[in-house]
Amino acid sequence: MKKDWLFLMESMLFKHRLLIWGLVAAVVLTLPFWGLSLFVMRTIIMIGVFAMLALGLNLLTGYTSQVSLGHAGFFAIGAYTSAVLMMRFDVHFLVGMLAGAALAGLFGLVLGIPTLRLSGSYLTIVTMGFGEIIRLIIMTWTPVTNGTLGLMSIPRPRFFGTELNLNNHGFYYLMVALVFLVALFCHHLLNSKVGRSFRAIGEDEVAASMMGLQTTELKVLAFVLSAFITGVAGVFYAPLMGFIDHNTFTFDVSILILSIVIVGGMGTLRGMFLGSAILIVFPEMSRFLMDWRFVVYGLLLILMMRFRPNGLLGWQSRLPYPIRGKKKEVKGHGISKRQRSF
């Protein structure tokens, strides 16, 4: 079998994985001391938030192939629930997080039920409606959400008497911890029978049901987990912004999350980080393009669709399948790209 460059690159990465992870950890943990401006740090935190959002949507869209355009709704539910609880009842940030994510998950269950009957574009349209309904509820339910005026001066999380903010890098480290936990959760979930069944459903639902998979329950489960993670991101986002209103959670946000998943590489975890970095940084970096900014943005997306339809990091691994109980090493041959097919 042919050893291609992808196999060589992957086996290099695999061989030096401890070194690479060590370097990544060192960079991530020491980043605040590199003398970066507050603006840059804030952008990096935003990348983290959107990486989390993309990881959440990826569970649903990248694995079970259910496309949602209403994730801004779950994002909003997480943000509003915790912000309201923290402001009105003075609960701790972590309690707010649990409540916000749980409520988002619950709404995921409610929205997941239509998946029993709908698929493809029909499902996507329902999720779009869901996002708008949540936005309208926020606008009109004034006693709780303060209506169109939005919620102002949302309290920052406090841990052991210290308030986390941008200056003491509390937000940064909280973001790192959350992204780490969410990514670990996704990694463990997807490399188990649950992840396999998600992918099987995404590829061929009828065949998956013929393997005895409870396809309906699994699809709803994907919805709930995806909404839960999106809710966590929302809970973190509210105090970071300090101010949220109905315009914070528009349809554009849903589109942005989906774009990150597609640009990074659907069905991969690595892609979510690169996708988020590119799509968050690009609008900031390209201000000199003025009015042409979104023309170039659109053009880049079209070019990517043409030349890398699987996303930037969306390749299939050429390394052998990691078989449990065997010593971890890369031996023998990689997997050839495509053999003859009739």
Binding site: H188, K193, E203, A208, M211, G325
Partner: protein
Amino acid sequence: MAYLSVKEVSKSFGGLTAVGGVSFEVEKGQVVSIIGPNGAGKTTIFNLLTGVYEIDSGTVTFDGKPIHNKPVQDIVGAGIARTFQNIRLFPKMRVLENVLVGMDRKMGYGLLSSVFRTPKFKKAEQEFTQRAIEILGSIGLGDEIHNYAENLPYGAKRKLEIARAMATGAKILLLDEPAAGMNPQESVELMDFISSLKNQGYTLILIEHDMSVVMKISDKIYVIDHGVKIAEGKPAEIANNEAVIRAYLGGSAKDVKSQ
């Protein structure tokens, strides 16, 4: 009582009767073939047996228990698994993963075990991965376990579908045109393979057009035409059955012989 017994099963789609009161029986360890011209309702029978469609009337009993109109998952759980006429693998998953999906039901660990990587998770994954490798080895795909299903050549894809069905713990395998698109040599290999499955104790029901395969390996053949059974019997009986020849060639046996 037969191992699998199908009694007077009917299915209509609107005004069209796809299957009209078909009955047949399969004994344990037999290879039974269902043949008939295109559009006769053979695949519909498979869809009725596996719960893809609900039946309008009649009963299907497997191992003494009625299984008709049960959810697909329950029928797989009872021990009936199938392959598809147009191969339906999970193309972007690895060969090994395709088989592991088939074992999903039996793995017996939950969401929390996966997330926290409990000993239960590790034990189940290790154990079932080994079993999947064994199944793939027995079917001649031992060298391909790491490959992606979409990269396999045609014949290997068919084999992988069978391996995946075996992985569900099925006792009866329903194979829908396993020899379709195979060259004569591949067909011969397939026949040997099906015989070996029989020797392993599997009961098999085939839909097949390749008569050289059907005549050699079947214990019993049922012939379906326009949704009704027109003949049943041993291969030799079917080969000389007038109704069958008429169904296939559109004339009487005498016409055929005189030509």
